[in-house]
C-alpha cells in the first residue's frame, strides 16, 4: 500500500462507520465494551505441515484466544475465502478493505492471518483492519522452523496484530491520558499486560452522538503523530502516553461532545518503509538528502543518530524497523535538519514527504562552512606563529623571529573573508522563510568572528 501525505492534518473519508455498538440502543461503558473480531485464516498447502491445519487452525485459535484475553474479544475465526488465500499468503500488505467479504466486515475488526512456506520453515503473518476507522495496522511476522510450533506462533501473531482502541481523556502539553477499551472485562490471567508490548497509538477523530456512541461518517487522522505509552506494561484501563509529533502547535483537537478522540493501536513490525522525498511544487525527487533516526535516550545518555543513507535519484531512502514501533526520523540536507518526524516503519510501504527546494540554502551553507573552516585555520596558524615568535625572541633568535613575523604578515587577509561574507549576504537574503533567517544568523556569527580577528592585531600579542 502506498500512502502519500504532506505535513498537515488530513481528513480522510473512509469506510462508512457502523458504530462500535450499532446493535445497542444505549452505549455500554467503554471499559466493558468487547471487540467483535473476524479472523480469516489461510494456510498454504505444504507437506511439512499437518494435513488438516487449514481446518484446525481457525478452530484452535478461537478456542485459545479467550484463555489469554478473556472476555475482551468476541472472536469468530474461519478459513479465508478462496479468492483471498493467495493475497493473504503472498501479498498481505497489498490487501485492501474492498477485497474483504462483506460478511467479515460486520464487527470492529478483521484480522487476516496466513501461514506460508518460508526460507527456513514457515512464515506466519497477520494484519488487522480496524473497521471503526478504516485503518490498517502493520503486518506482524513470525518465522517458524518447526511445523509443530505453527499454532502457537499463529496465536502470537494474532495477538500482536491486534490494534487496541483507547479513548483520549485528557490532553496536556506533551502527554495524553488514555482509557483502554474493554479493559475491565474479565481476564483469565490478571498479570498479563492489557496491550501487547511495544504497541503505540495514533490519534484519530471520529464522530459520535451526544451519548458518545460512534456514528457513521468520515474520520480525521492526525499524521506524523503517535502516542507512546509512558509505562512499558499497561495493567490498568487508564494510562498516560507521550505525544510524539512532527507537527507544531496543538495537534489533538479539543474535547467536543459529538467527537470521539480515539487512539488506535499500532503494532511493531518487521517491515521497512520507503520514504520518498519530493520537491514541493514540481514533485521532482529530491536527491542527496540524508534520512536518519534519532534513537531514544539510553541510560540517561542522549540517543545516537543512525543514518539510513542519502536519497538517490529517485528520492527514496528505506527506513528499517527497530525494537520500538516509532522511529523519529531526521531529514538532513547539508548540516540543516529540515524535518523531524515520527514514523512507524512497516505501517505504510511507502510514504512521500514534500519539502521546499533547499538547494539555494545549501549553496550558501557550503560557502559559509568553507569560510568558517578557513577562519579557524587562520586563528590556529596565527596563534601558533605568535607563540613561535615569542619563543624565538626569548632565545634572542632574531633571524628566526623575523622570518616568523614575515609569515605572520603573509597570512591571508581577513578582509578577503569579509568580502566573501558580503557576497554570501546577498545570497542569504535572497532565501525565504526559516532558511533565510538561519543562514543570516550563521553568517552574522561568522562575520563577528572575522571582525574580531581583524580587530585583533596579532603583533600586539608579541
Amino acid at each position: 500500500m502506498t500512502r502519500t501525505v504532506s505535513i498537515a492534518i488530513l481528513i480522510l473519508p473512509v469506510l462508512s462507520l457502523r458504530g462500535l455498538a450499532a446493535d445497542d440502543t444505549a452505549p455500554v461503558a467503554w471499559e466493558l465494551l468487547p471487540y467483535r473480531i473476524q479472523l480469516l485464516v489461510a494456510v498454504e498447502a505444504n507437506a511439512s505441515l499437518p494435513p488438516r491445519l487449514a481446518d484446525e487452525l481457525p478452530v484452535d485459535l478461537a478456542a485459545r484466544v479467550p484463555a489469554v484475553v478473556g472476555g475482551a474479544w468476541r472472536l469468530q475465526a474461519s478459513a479465508a475465502p478462496v479468492e483471498l488465500r493467495h493475497p493473504i499468503l503472498h501479498s498481505l500488505n497489498d490487501v485492501t478493505a474492498n477485497e474483504l467479504p462483506a460478511t467479515a466486515k460486520k464487527g470492529d475488526k478483521v484480522i487476516l492471518l496466513g501461514v506460508a512456506a518460508g526460507q527456513d520453515g514457515f512464515l506466519v503473518r497477520a494484519r488487522e483492519l480496524d473497521l471503526v476507522t478504516g485503518l490498517w495496522n502493520t503486518t506482524v511476522t513470525r518465522n517458524v522452523r518447526q511445523g509443530a510450533s505453527v499454532k502457537q506462533e499463529a496465536l502470537w501473531c494474532l495477538l500482536s496484530a491486534f490494534a487496541p482502541h483507547a479513548r483520549i481523556e485528557k490532553v496536556d502539553a506533551k502527554t495524553v491520558t488514555l482509557k483502554l477499551r474493554a479493559a475491565a472485562l474479565a481476564r483469565r490471567e490478571a498479570d498479563l499486560p492489557l496491550i501487547p508490548s511495544g504497541t503505540v497509538f495514533r490519534p484519530v477523530l471520529v464522530k459520535s452522538d451526544a451519548r458518545g456512541a460512534i456514528v457513521a461518517g468520515p474520520v480525521e487522522t492526525i499524521d506524523w503523530t503517535y502516542l507512546i505509552p509512558t509505562q512499558s506494561k499497561i495493567s490498568s484501563s487508564s494510562f498516560t502516553a507521550s505525544i510524539e509529533t512532527g507537527l507544531t502547535g496543538s495537534v489533538i483537537a479539543e474535547y467536543h461532545p459529538t467527537r470521539l478522540r480515539l487512539a488506535l493501536g499500532v503494532s511493531p513490525s518487521q517491515d521497512s518503509t520507503k520514504v520518498k522525498l519530493l520537491a514541493e511544487g514540481s514533485a521532482a525527487p529530491l536527491e542527496g538528502y540524508e534520512v536518519a533516526a534519532q534513537e531514544p535516550e539510553a541510560a540517561g545518555k542522549p540517543g545516537t543518530t543512525t543514518s539510513f543513507g542519502r536519497s538517490g535519484a529517485d528520492g527514496i531512502v528505506v527506513v528499517p524497523p527497530s525494537l520500538n514501533a516509532v522511529r523519529t526520523i531526521l531529514i538532513r540536507h547539508g548540516e540543516e535538519v529540515l524535518a523531524r518526524l515520527p514514523l512507524v516503519p512497516g505501517l505504510a510501504e511507502e510514504i512521500t514527504i514534500s519539502l521546499a527546494d533547499d538547494r539555494p540554502r545549501l549553496v550558501v551553507e557550503s560557502a559559509l562552512r568553507r569560510i568558517q573552516d578557513d577562519l579557524i585555520d587562520i586563528v590556529a596558524r596565527r596563534e601558533v606563529l605568535v607563540s613561535r615568535i615569542k619563543a624565538a625572541g626569548a632565545t634572542s633568535n632574531t633571524a628566526s623571529a623575523d622570518k616568523l613575523k614575515d609569515q605572520l604578515r603573509k597570512l591571508p587577509s581577513i578582509d578577503s573573508f569579509l568580502a566573501e561574507l558580503a557576497n554570501q549576504q546577498q545570497a542569504a537574503e535572497a532565501l525565504e522563510g526559516s532558511a533565510r533567517s538561519k543562514m543570516l544568523q550563521k553568517l552574522g556569527d561568522i562575520r563577528k568572528l572575522a571582525e574580531k580577528l581583524k580587530a585583533e592585531n596579532p603583533a600586539s600579542k608579541l
Binding site: 542527496g288 545516537t304 590556529a380
Partner: protein, 758 residues
C-alpha cells in the same frame, strides 16, 4: 705580529728559571671530540730532559715549505705560540727541542691508525683533508695506496667483490704499477665473474673477463680461457635445449632457452640464426614490473597493475586517443555517436567481428549483456557509479546499441570504457607472484596476425632499480614504471627509450567511509596540515630532481601541464594549497577529538594507514606515518600485498588516482556510491551542475567548483601528482609517445630479436 723584546727576554727567563711547569699549566689536554683533521691545526714540540720532556701544543710553526729543518740547520730560537695562549709568542731555543711533529704528520698518523683498525671510511676523510694541502704531505701517497690495498683484501675476504673491484679501479688509477695489483685484480675479477654467472648475469661476467684479458693479456690463455670455455659449454647446452624445445613445439620454452643461450655466449655458432628463426615463429616480449597482476580485473580500477594489463585482457568499447591533447573517444568495435544530444551514446558494431573460442560472431546482445551486468549489483563487474547514471541499454532497429543515461552526459562515451569479458588481444595464461604471462588470442579482431608479440611475460621485481638492471642485461625489454628517484639510472639513447605516460596520477589518502572518526572534516584537514607534502615529494620521491608535472595539489583532480580542449582537467589553481604546519594540525586534531566526543562517538587517535606493496607508496606512507605521529596520531602501517583489495581494516588508504576523463571519473571518485564513500549534499549539487554542462568550457568551470568543494570538504586527502615513466629497449617498435597506459596500441607493436651485446 711584531714581537716585543721584553716579552722574549721574559719568556726565555721563564723557560730557564721557572722550568716547564709554568708553561705546562697553560697546556690543557685536547678536549675536542671532533676528528683531528677538523680541529684547528697545531704542531707538537717535544722539549729535552732539562724541560722534563714536555710536549707543547703550538700554533702551526712558520717553517719554510712546512718542513722541519735538518738537525744541522737548527740554530737560534724557534718562535712558538702556545695554542692555549693565543696571541702571545715565545721563543724556545732550538737546542731544547728534541722533536717536532707537524700537524700533517699527526693527521696522517691518525689516519693510518684508523686503517689498522679497519675504519677505512674514517681514514679516507683524513686522507682527503691531507690531499687538499699544499705542499703535498710527505708519505701521503703511500699511505693511501696501502689503505686501498688493505681495504681490497678486507672486502675480498668479506665476500664484497663489487666493493673490492671498485677499490681496485681506484688503486689502479693511482698507481697501475703497484706491486700485487695484477694478482689482486685477477682474483677479484674471477671471483666476481663467478658470482655474476651464478646470478645469471652473463653479460656482466663476460665484460669482467674481457676487461681482465685486456688489462693483463697473460690471463687470456689461463684463467680467462677457463671461464670462457665454461660459458661456451653452457651456451652449447642451451642451444641443444632450444632445438629440442623447438622441435617439440614448446615455443615459449625454446624462446627462454635461446634467450639464455645468447645471453651466455652471444657469439655461439648457429645461435643467432636459431634465435631469429624462433623469434619469427613466436615473438615474445618480457616486461619488468613492480606491481604484478593477481587476477584479471573485473571492472575499471585505479590499481596500477589492473590499469596496465586491462588493455591486454579486454578492449574497451570506447577508448580515448593518446597524446597530450587528443581526448576524443573512438571505438574499435564500430562507430560511436551521440544522436540525441548527450542523453545517449550509440555504438554501431562493425560487421563480422568475432570473439570467444571457438570464435563466433559478436552480437549487439553480447555488448548489451556486458553493460547491463556492470549496472547490476552483486555481479563481479558491478560499478555503482555506472549503475546510477545508466537508465538502460537497448538494441535499436538497425542493430545499434544504445546506452541511455538518466541525465545527459557530456562525455557519455567515457562511461563505455568497459571491456567485454575475455575480449582482448591477449588472455591470461598464467599468474604467479613472480611471473604473469599473457598469450595472444587467436580470435581477436584488432591485430594483424604475426605482428604483435605472441606472448607477453611480466616479470616481477622488487623495485625499479632491479627492473632497470634486468632491462640492461636483456632479461626484459621493457620496464613499466620507473620510480622518480630511479630516473637518473636510465635515459633515452641508442639502446633504450624512456617515455612518459600521458596523464599524471594523483596520490591521495582515501578515508575509510565506514570509520566514524574520519567522517570529521576537521580531522581530515588536520591530517592535511600534518603532512609535509612538498618535502616528501621533492626530497623523498623526486630526490631533488625537478620533473614537470610532479607537484603538490590542492584536490583530487590532476593539474595538467597543457591546455586540453577535449579533456577538461577542472583543477582550480586559485585554490590554496594548505601549507605544512604540524602545530596547526595538532590544534585541529584536538578540535576534531572534541567534536567526535560531543557526537557520542568514542574518539580514538589510532589510525591504520594502508598502502599497496610498491616502493613509491611505501616511501610516501612511511614518511606520512612519522609526520602524523608528530601531531599526536598513532599510526599503524598496513601493506596490502599486490593484487589484493584493501578490505575494511584501514582508516586511510594511499591510492594513486587515474583521472583519465575527469567529467566521468569525478563521479566514480566523489559521487554517490563512489570510491570516497558518502557523497555530501554540496558535492552532489556540484556534480549535478557539472552534469548539466553544455560544452567543455562550461564543464571546466563546473569541474573547478567540484575541485573547490573537494578541497574544502576533503572527501579525499590530496597529496601530490606524479608524472610516471616507462622504459623500453629499441627492439620494441610501435610504442606510441605518451600513451595513457603501457599497452595502448599493443596491436601495432612489433618486437625484434634482441641479441645481447658482445
Amino acid at each position: 705580529m711584531p714581537r716585543s723584546p721584553r716579552l722574549v727576554n721574559w719568556t726565555k727567563m721563564a723557560v730557564a728559571t721557572l722550568g716547564v711547569a709554568w708553561l705546562m699549566c697553560g697546556i690543557a689536554p685536547a678536549k675536542d671530540t671532533d676528528p683531528l683533521y677538523l680541529q684547528s691545526p697545531f704542531d707538537e714540540i717535544t722539549l729535552d730532559e732539562n724541560n722534563n720532556n714536555a710536549v707543547l701544543k703550538v700554533k702551526p710553526l712558520n717553517l719554510p715549505g712546512r718542513k722541519v729543518p735538518a738537525p744541522a740547520d737548527r740554530k737560534g730560537d724557534l718562535e712558538i705560540e702556545l695554542v692555549e695562549q693565543a696571541g702571545q709568542t715565545f721563543a724556545v731555543a732550538w737546542g731544547a727541542v728534541v722533536k717536532v711533529r707537524l700537524f700533517e704528520e699527526l693527521v696522517l698518523a691518525e689516519a693510518q691508525q684508523r686503517v689498522q683498525e679497519g675504519r677505512f671510511d674514517e681514514a679516507y676523510a683524513y686522507f682527503r683533508s691531507l690531499e687538499a694541502k699544499t705542499p703535498p704531505v710527505v708519505g701521503l701517497k703511500d699511505a693511501i695506496e696501502s689503505c686501498l690495498y688493505t681495504q681490497i683484501g678486507a672486502s675480498f675476504t668479506a665476500g664484497r667483490q663489487d666493493e673490492a673491484m671498485t677499490l681496485l679501479a681506484e688503486l689502479s688509477g693511482r698507481n697501475p704499477q703497484r706491486t700485487g695489483l695484477s694478482k689482486a685484480y685477477e682474483r677479484v675479477s674471477l671471483e666476481l665473474a663467478k658470482s655474476r654467472i651464478a646470478e645469471g648475469n652473463f653479460r656482466a661476467a663476460r665484460k669482467l673477463l674481457s676487461n681482465l684479458a685486456e688489462r693483463y693479456p697473460e690471463t687470456k690463455t689461463t684463467s680467462v680461457a677457463e671461464f670462457e670455455t665454461m660459458l661456451k659449454d653452457k651456451a652449447t647446452a642451451l642451444l641443444m635445449q632450444t632445438k629440442t624445445d623447438l622441435a617439440a613445439g614448446k615455443l615459449r620454452e625454446a624462446h627462454e632457452a635461446a634467450g639464455k643461450m645468447l645471453e651466455t655466449w652471444p657469439a655461439i655458432e648457429e645461435g643467432k640464426q636459431l634465435a631469429a628463426e624462433l623469434h619469427q615463429k613466436y615473438p615474445l616480449l618480457s616486461v619488468g614490473v613492480i606491481s604484478p597482476l593477481a587476477a584479471a580485473p573485473a571492472k575499471p580500477s585505479d590499481d596500477w597493475a589492473s590499469v596496465r594489463t586491462g588493455r591486454l585482457l579486454g578492449r574497451p568499447l570506447a577508448e580515448a586517443g593518446s597524446g597530450e591533447s587528443d581526448g576524443a573517444f573512438s571505438s574499435s568495435f564500430g562507430e560511436l555517436s551521440r544522436p540525441k544530444g548527450n542523453a545517449q551514446v550509440v555504438l554501431k558494431l562493425k560487421d563480422g567481428l568475432k570473439w570467444q573460442e571457438p570464435p563466433r560472431i559478436l552480437r549487439a546482445q553480447d555488448v548489451v549483456r556486458t553493460l547491463l551486468s556492470a549496472a547490476t549489483p552483486k555481479t563481479p563487474g558491478y560499478d555503482e557509479s555506472f549503475a546510477k547514471v545508466l537508465a538502460g541499454v537497448e538494441v535499436g532497429t538497425e542493430g545499434e546499441i544504445r546506452a541511455v543515461f538518466v541525465h545527459p552526459q557530456l562525455k557519455g562515451e567515457a562511461w563505455l570504457q568497459r571491456c567485454l569479458p575475455g575480449y582482448g588481444p591477449y588472455k591470461l595464461a598464467n599468474a604467479a607472484p613472480q611471473q604473469v604471462s599473457f598469450v595472444r588470442q587467436a580470435a581477436y579482431f584488432g591485430g594483424a596476425a604475426g605482428i604483435q608479440p605472441s606472448e607477453i611475460i611480466e616479470r616481477t621485481y622488487p623495485d625499479a632499480a632491479a627492473a632497470i638492471q634486468a632491462l640492461r642485461r636483456g632479461e626484459v625489454s621493457m620496464v613499466d614504471r620507473i620510480s622518480p628517484w630511479d630516473l637518473r639510472r636510465i635515459s633515452s639513447g641508442d639502446e633504450f627509450t624512456v617515455e612518459q605516460y600521458a596523464l599524471p596520477r594523483v596520490s591521495v589518502l582515501l578515508p575509510n567511509p565506514r570509520r566514524l572518526l574520519l567522517a570529521n572534516r576537521t580531522l581530515r584537514r588536520a591530517i592535511l596540515y600534518a603532512i609535509d607534502r612538498e618535502s616528501i615529494l621533492r626530497r623523498g620521491l623526486l630526490t631533488g630532481q625537478s620533473i614537470d608535472g610532479c607537484e603538490v595539489v590542492s584536490g583530487p583532480l590532476p593539474r595538467l601541464p597543457f591546455s586540453d580542449d577535449a579533456r577538461p582537467s577542472g583543477y582550480d589553481p586559485q585554490v590554496e594549497i594548505r601549507p605544512y604546519d604540524p602545530a596547526v594540525a595538532s590544534v585541529l586534531v584536538a578540535v576534531a577529538m572534541q567534536e567526535a566526543a560531543s557526537s557520542a562517538a568514542v574518539p580514538s587517535k589510532s589510525l591504520t594507514l594502508a598502502f599497496p606493496a610498491e616502493p613509491i607508496a611505501r616511501i610516501a606512507c612511511e614518511s606520512i606515518s612519522r609526520q602524523l605521529e608528530l601531531v599526536g596520531l598513532q599510526i599503524t602501517l598496513k601493506e596490502i600485498p599486490a593484487g589484493l583489495a584493501a578490505g575494511e581494516d584501514y582508516d586511510l588508504l594511499y591510492e594513486e588516482l587515474v583521472m583519465q576523463e575527469p567529467v566521468v571519473d569525478v563521479w566514480r571518485l566523489l559521487g554517490p556510491g563512489g570510491v570516497s564513500g558518502e557523497c555530501s549534499s554540496a558535492m552532489l549539487l556540484a556534480l549535478r551542475s557539472l552534469e548539466q554542462a553544455k560544452d567543455v568550457k562550461q564543464a571546466t568551470l563546473r569541474l573547478q567548483e567540484v575541485h573547490r568543494v573537494a578541497a574544502a570538504e576533503l572527501p579525499v586527502v590530496p597529496l601530490w601528482q606524479l608524472v610516471n615513466h616507462f622504459a623500453y629497449h629499441k627492439s620494441v617498435k610501435g610504442v606510441p609517445t605518451r600513451p595513457i597506459g603501457l599497452y595502448q596500441d599493443i596491436e601495432k607493436w612489433q618486437v625484434e630479436l634482441r641479441v645481447p651485446l658482445e
